[in-house]
Every structure is written in structure tokens, then in C-alpha cells.
């Protein structure tokens, strides 16, 4: 039915998103390739976050939200996948580090637990490997019982990454993951993203164009609910086709 | 389906069912009151019930005019509200803007304590202390009269009126206050001319809920108002409210008798009156939130 490139893991077809009457995203057609890091840049209110949250249907938590068009994930219409299964496969990291007020261990073990893993030893293995992949293990291995909200902002954000990894998703969405972090913490999060490339598809929404330039393979530029341009990161930042992209990446507005 | 999914399905069904049960209760209450209330009107005319000036359930033939009871309720309620509203709103203003923070907490706890005193205890106070006190002070024939009830009910409605008015005052937007101060108003001018008007719907909601509470109160009025089912000429006379009539006579009726059904008709009238009052309160509360 849908012509799918074998490399494509996510595709949107004429996606239009609305909050009440306000349209947040217009006629979006985008393809996301397996194991790439796709950067999404654009000024505030350009529809970046709406796009991200449309992929795992988190937008629907807002009762005024509605959408037209389709999101295709792994050759299936996302609407046909139960929410919990879809979200298990497409994880998300929020803008501000959001931890549950429980221990570090419980935060990471939460996902696997709700997916039916009960054995303590198994959970310990999952937590350890997730924390290692998120570059956090060495900093917290001796205090897994400490309340997670006591970690620093950067540590909390890597904890969120570990928590998402613990449910073994296929895609990880990042919604401006470093907006509240200092440069050193940002670097650590970016390192973690690079390390995860071999196993996961990652989509990074960021206000920080330099961050997109540093970590993403391809970059898309969103403006006022539309995708202006998408291409290899290098191309977007050096020879963009659209003048508006050029203006934005060179810092003339935004 | 896995066992987890099944138990989840069951619990979610229960959650949705519980909402239905709440609605069901209201319908049940109405239906059961209505069923027994209309049985009265098989042999007794609704006009005589609503406008009859005599409540004489055991005379021959019996008369079931609720006018004396209704007027009794109105007297007691009006008395209570006249005492309670100015005091309550003033107290709310004091707590919201004048009282220092430490005192504020103490006052609020005291009001909470007042709210928790069982009505039967207040009724007892009315019998042993307030009634005799009023009788001696004002030289009344009896202390068991409308005024005693009104005074006690005013205190029972106080917590409702104070807390809701205080909420309404506190939630007046800061910008309003700042604008008033910016124009050089004193705190009192700001409180009186800016906060009080903008908190009006909230305060009205509090007053309505207070009225609802007073009209529905049973034990206090039954214990202290003298229980005379005649149309009172003044609040200083013994009278009888709708609620006290049900509470006082239900035990003496024979199930299925006209008297029994008449008491349900009184209950239905109370149900409808309080429903309307609470509806008004709810509407002004929602208006206040906006």
C-alpha cells in the first residue's frame, strides 16, 4: 500500500496536527532512516516538538489535540499499534530532566517492570547495562538507592536516557534534551547519543543549531509548522537550498 | 489476553462503573423519595400540601400543610444567614489580608475545629446553656425558639462561608492588588473596593452553600427550636422546621400510612430546595474560577 524504502523506519504522510483550531504542523512528509541521528532545528513554535510527540502519540495526552494524515512506523500505521506497544518501541527524552521521586534503581527498572520483568537479578542486569550505555554507571553504581531527584541536572538527563534504554526501544526521540544543561553535561549527553548510534534510530529536536551540526547525520529545518528543508547535515549548514534555512543557520534570526 | 491485561480490564471497568454508580445514587435517592412522596397525593391534594396552613398529622382528618414548616425553616435560616454572612465575610477578610501569618494558621485551625463539632453537641449546648441564657437575658417565655436555632446554625454555617470566601479573596489576581496600590490606595481601600468586588461570585457561592447547610441541618433545630408546628409570628417563638419534622415524627408513623408518605413529601421538598441552592452555589463557584 505504502511505498516503503527498506531503510525507512518512520515516515509521515501529509501529517497535519492541531491543538483545538490552531494548526501546529502542516502537510509534513518526512522519512527517518534506520540508525541515523536526525536533527530537527527551527525557532520556537515551529512544530518540532509536536512532530516528535506525534510519532509516539504523546500529543494525545492533550485533550484538544487532533491529527490528520498518517505516521508509518516499521511498515505499519502507528494508529493501528496500541499506545503502550508503540511507546515501548519509540522512547522519548523530555526537555527538562524528568525523574520520578524514587531511587535511581527504581527509575530505570520502572519500564522493564511494567513490561512484566519481575526477577530482581534480571532487573539488576538491565539497570546496570542501561546505565552503562547512558554513561552514568560509574558515577552512580555505589548509590543506586539514592533518590533520583538528588542527582545533578546532567546526571538526571542521562538517567532518563538510561530509563528509556531499559525498555529496549528501536527509536529514541530527544526533545531539546540539553536545554537546561551546562556545556560539560551537554557533551556527556552527546557522547552517549554517539555511542547509541549503532543500535538505535535517534531523532534530536534542538534549539541549539550547533548541537545539530555536531551530532546529527541529517538535519531538517522547521519553520512555522512546515518543514522547509531536509538534507545531510553538512549540506544544510554549508549550502542550504532555501534562503530561510541559510538565514536561520547563520544566525540571522531565530 | 494475559492475566495482567485481564485484571487491567476488570479494574478499568470498575473505575468506569463507579462513575455510573454515583449518578445512580442520586437517581435512586430521587426515585425512592418520589415514590413514597407521590403516594400521599393519591388521597391528599398537592395544593393542600403546599399551601395548607396546618400541620396536624394525627388529628381527624389529618392535615398536612407544609407552610408552617417551610416558614419555620425560612425564619431560622434567614436568622442564621443574617448573623453569619457579615461576620463570616469580615472574618474571611481578616484572615485573608489583615492577620499575620502565624495567627492566620491558628484561626484557620480553629475554624476547622468548629466545622468538626458534631451538630448534636451544639444542640446539647443550646439546651443546657444558650437557650436558658437567651430566655433570661431577653425575658422570653421559652429559650427553645427560632433565635436559639439561628444563633447555633449561624455558627455551623460559619466554617463554610469563611473558608470559601477566604479562598475567593486569596485568589484575586495579584495584578488587581498591585494596580490599586499603584494608585496609592490603602490596604483597606484595596480590600474593600478591589478585592471584595472581584471575589463576589466566590463569596456568593460560599453564602449559598452556607444556606444549604443551614436549611438541611436537623439535630440542632430539633433540639432547640421548640418543635411547634405553627406558623411563627416572630423568630422569638417556638417553631418547627422541615428537617425537624421528619426526624421527630418518622419514628411514630406507621409504614404506608398517609402521615408516613407526607414525611417523604417533606423530604422530597427538602431535596429539591437544597438541590437548587447547591446548583446556584456551583454555578457561581465556576464563575469565580474564571
Amino acid at each position: 500500500m505504502v511505498n516503503v524504502n527498506p531503510q525507512v523506519i518512520i515516515q509521515t504522510i501529509n501529517l497535519n496536527c492541531f491543538y483545538g483550531r490552531m494548526q501546529a504542523l502542516t502537510n509534513l512528509n518526512i522519512e527517518v532512516y534506520k540508525n541515523e541521528i536526525l536533527g530537527i532545528i527551527g525557532p520556537a513554535n515551529s512544530g518540532k516538538t509536536t512532530f516528535l510527540r506525534a510519532l509516539n502519540r504523546l500529543n494525545y495526552l492533550n485533550p484538544t489535540y487532533s491529527q490528520k494524515g498518517a505516521v508509518i512506523f516499521d511498515n505499519q500505521n502507528a494508529d493501528d499499534i496500541p499506545d503502550d506497544m508503540l511507546r515501548k518501541r519509540i522512547g522519548i527524552i523530555f526537555a527538562l530532566p524528568q525523574t520520578l521521586p524514587t531511587s535511581i534503581f527504581q527509575n530505570v527498572a520502572y519500564g522493564p517492570k511494567v513490561h512484566g520483568i519481575k526477577k530482581k537479578s534480571e532487573l539488576q542486569g538491565i539497570v546496570e547495562s542501561a546505565l552503562k550505555k547512558a554513561y552514568l554507571w560509574d558515577e552512580v553504581k555505589d548509590r543506586l538507592d539514592m533518590p533520583a531527584p538528588r542527582l545533578s541536572g546532567g546526571q538526571q538527563q542521562r538517567l532518563c536516557i538510561a530509563r528509556t534504554l531499559a525498555v529496549e526501544p528501536e527509536v529514541i526521540l530527544y526533545d531539546e534534551p540539553c536545554s537546561g544543561l551546562d556545556p560539560i553535561s551537554t557533551a556527556k549527553v552527546e557522547d552517549a547519543m554517539g555511542e547509541l548510534k549503532s543500535d538505535y534510530t535517534q531523532i534530536l529536536v534542538t534549539n541549539n543549531t550547533k548541537q545539530a551540526a555536531r551530532v546529527s547525520d541529517r538535519t531538517a529545518f522547521f519553520l512555522m509548522g512546515e518543514m522547509v528543508e531536509i538534507g545531510l547535515t553538512n549540506t544544510i549548514f554549508t549550502t542550504p537550498q532555501d534562503k530561510r534555512t541559510d538565514d536561520y543557520v547563520t544566525g540571522r534570526f531565530g | 489476553m494475559s492475566p495482567g491485561k485481564i485484571s487491567e480490564y476488570i479494574i478499568e471497568s470498575l473505575i468506569k462503573l463507579s462513575g455510573l454508580i454515583i449518578v445512580g445514587f442520586v437517581i435512586l435517592i430521587f426515585l425512592f423519595l418520589f415514590r413514597d412522596a407521590v403516594s400521599l397525593f393519591g388521597g391528599y391534594s398537592p395544593g393542600a400540601f403546599l399551601f395548607g396552613r396546618n400541620w396536624l398529622p394525627i388529628s381527624e382528618p389529618p392535615q398536612f400543610g407544609i407552610l408552617p414548616l417551610l416558614i419555620g425553616s425560612v425564619y431560622v435560616t434567614a436568622g442564621a444567614i443574617i448573623i453569619c454572612v457579615p461576620l463570616g465575610v469580615a472574618a474571611a477578610m481578616y484572615i485573608a489580608e489583615v492577620a499575620p501569618k502565624s495567627l492566620k494558621h491558628i484561626l484557620k485551625s480553629l475554624i476547622e475545629i468548629l466545622a468538626s463539632i458534631p451538630s448534636v453537641v451544639l444542640g446539647f449546648i443550646g439546651i443546657v446553656w444558650l437557650g436558658p441564657f437567651l430566655k433570661n437575658t431577653f425575658g422570653l417565655t421559652t429559650g427553645m425558639c427560632g433565635l436559639t436555632g439561628s444563633l447555633l446554625l449561624a455558627f455551623m454555617a460559619m466554617p463554610t462561608i469563611i473558608s470559601i470566601s477566604e479562598d475567593a479573596l486569596v485568589s484575586v489576581p495579584r495584578t488587581f492588588k498591585e494596580a490599586a496600590y499603584g494608585l496609592g490606595a490603602t490596604k483597606w481601600q484595596m480590600l474593600w473596593r478591589v478585592m471584595l468586588p472581584s471575589a463576589a461570585s466566590g463569596i456568593i457561592a460560599g453564602i449559598m452553600l452556607g444556606i444549604g447547610r443551614v436549611i438541611g441541618e436537623t439535630m440542632v433545630v430539633m433540639m432547640v427550636t421548640g418543635n411547634a408546628p405553627v406558623i411563627p409570628e416572630s423568630i422569638l417563638q417556638p417553631l418547627r422546621t422541615l428537617t425537624a419534622t421528619i426526624a421527630g415524627e418518622m419514628g411514630e408513623t406507621v409504614s404506608g400510612s398517609e402521615h408516613y408518605y407526607a414525611l417523604f413529601a417533606v423530604g422530597l421538598a427538602l431535596f429539591i430546595i437544597t438541590f437548587i441552592i447547591n446548583l446556584i452555589a456551583d454555578i457561581s463557584l465556576q464563575k469565580a474560577r474564571k
Binding site: Q98 | V23, L33, S116, P118, V120, S255
Partner: protein
């Protein structure tokens, strides 16, 4: 001082005086009951049934009856109240049915207690043939307590940060898993506070139990849910209005025990609230 300042001063003094007019009687009432009642409360008063036409002995069956009624009330109203609050906060969409539920709760909270008594009598005592019994009385009190429990639970659920729900859902948890693991645990303090408060109110209610359960004089303890019991508020009503030549000392003592029970429950709820507020981490 200018005119406006003087006026402000006078106004504030008047407001303070009003506050005093309200607060003083509260303290007076409590002092009156405590000073007259505390002395008469003896070990015998709490542990013995009434004797000699209730003019002697204690109020043990009434204390036990009130405790049984409160327990029964909680058993019915707590699950139903919490479930329906969960429905309203977590599941309900903004539609007719939801508005109907909210309207019902407003209505339930406004129905006079004596009308609950009538309803409980005609439905539970007569129609369901429970007779005047613990079951009928507890069910009546439970329905009456529902609005307070629902409102408190709703507020507690709404106070849980939305981010907790988002975290849980984004990890692929189902809605119910999210509520169970990431919402309810953090709402429990608020729910408990509201529940204890509503039960303390139910403990002091007389009108709803008048025809549904309360016994005038029943010195033995109940054997089953279908037995009648004595209850403290009704007992106080009876001895202060229906028993001639009642020693006032015993009435005061009964009132004292009743308000102590109610205050104690309030205290529990205040302590709970303070305790959990201190522990709160978000």
C-alpha cells in the same frame, strides 16, 4: 495621619473584633464541654454499658457502635469514592456523562442529612429488607460521605505532577499501570487526609442513623451486620432530650467523649498531612 489611614485603622480593628466574636464562642463551647465533661469520664464510663434507665453506668456500647459504623462506612465509601475520583481525573472526557457525574456529586454533597436518613430507611431498611441494622446505617453514611472523599481524592490526584504520567506512558506503561505506579502512590496522603476528615464528620452525624441503625437502649454488643447498635451522637440526643431527670454530668461526659473522638480523627488527618508534606520530594 491622613483620613484614609485612620479609616483603615478603624476598619481593621472592626475586622479583628469580628474575628474575636467568632473565635471566642468556639473556645467557650469547647471549654464548657471539657470542663464539665472531662471530670465525669471514668474508666467505668468508657467500659460499662448504661444502667438504670441510662441514668448510671457508662456508654461503652455507644462507643463501640460508633466505631463499628465508621468502619463499615469506610469499607463502602472508600473504594467507591477513590475509583470514581480516578475516573473523573484520569479517564473522563469532557462530555455529557462527565458533567452528569459532577452534577451528581454537587447534588449529593447538598442533600440534608435527614433526607439521607429517609432514603436509607426506605431503600435499605424497608426495600432491601436489611431492617434497622449496621449494614443499612453504614451504607447510608457511606453514600453521604462520598462527595467529601471524591473531592479530596480528586484534589490529591490533580496535585500529582503531569510529568509523572508522561514519564510512565512514554515508557510504554498502560494507563492503569501509570495510575497505579506513578499517580496513586503520590496521591495517597491527600486521599487519607480527606477520608479521615469525612469519617470524622460521619462519626458525629445523628440524622442519617436515626431510622437506619441507631438503638435507643441496647446494652449488648451486636453479633452481625444485621443487628442494631447504639451510637454516641444518637445517645447524646436521647439522654439530653428524651430521658427526664437525666444527670447532666453524664450528658456532658458523653458530649466530651464524642468531641474527643472527632477531634482525635481530625488530629490524625492534620498530622498525616504535615508528615507527608515534609516527605514530599517534588
Amino acid at each position: 495621619m491622613n483620613f484614609a489611614r485612620v479609616r483603615e485603622k478603624i476598619a481593621f480593628i472592626l475586622l479583628g473584633a469580628t474575628m474575636l466574636i467568632i473565635v471566642l464562642p468556639i473556645l467557650l463551647i469547647i471549654w464548657y464541654i471539657v470542663s464539665n465533661g472531662a471530670g465525669a469520664v471514668t474508666w467505668e464510663f468508657i467500659t460499662q454499658p448504661p444502667r438504670n434507665g441510662m441514668k448510671q453506668g457508662g456508654i461503652m456500647p455507644a462507643i463501640v457502635g460508633t466505631i463499628i459504623l465508621i468502619t463499615g462506612t469506610m469499607a463502602f465509601s472508600l473504594p467507591l469514592g477513590i475509583l470514581s475520583a480516578i475516573y473523573l481525573v484520569e479517564y473522563a472526557k469532557d462530555n455529557f456523562f462527565t458533567r452528569l457525574i459532577k452534577l451528581s456529586i454537587v447534588n449529593l454533597s447538598g442533600i440534608p442529612s435527614i433526607v439521607y436518613g429517609l432514603f436509607g430507611f426506605t431503600l435499605f431498611v424497608v426495600y432491601c429488607k436489611f431492617g434497622a441494622s449496621i449494614l443499612a446505617g453504614a451504607l447510608t453514611l457511606a453514600i453521604m460521605s462520598l462527595p467529601v472523599i471524591i473531592t479530596a481524592t480528586k484534589e490529591a490526584l490533580e496535585a500529582v505532577p503531569q510529568s509523572f504520567r508522561e514519564i510512565s506512558l512514554s515508557l510504554g506503561a498502560t494507563k492503569w499501570q501509570t495510575i497505579r505506579n506513578c499517580v496513586l502512590p503520590y496521591a495517597i496522603p491527600g486521599i487519607l487526609t480527606g477520608t479521615v476528615l469525612s469519617l470524622s464528620r460521619a462519626a458525629g452525624e445523628t440524622a442519617p442513623i436515626l431510622f437506619t441503625v441507631a438503638a435507643f437502649y441496647l446494652p449488648r454488643l451486636p453479633h452481625s451486620l444485621f443487628d442494631q447498635v447504639m451510637a454516641m451522637p444518637y445517645h447524646l440526643y436521647v439522654i439530653s432530650t428524651q430521658v427526664p431527670n437525666m444527670p447532666l454530668k453524664l450528658s456532658f461526659a458523653t458530649g466530651f467523649v464524642l468531641i474527643m473522638v472527632v477531634f482525635l480523627m481530625n488530629l490524625v488527618s492534620i498530622v498525616l498531612r504535615a508528615h507527608f508534606r515534609k516527605k514530599k520530594q517534588w
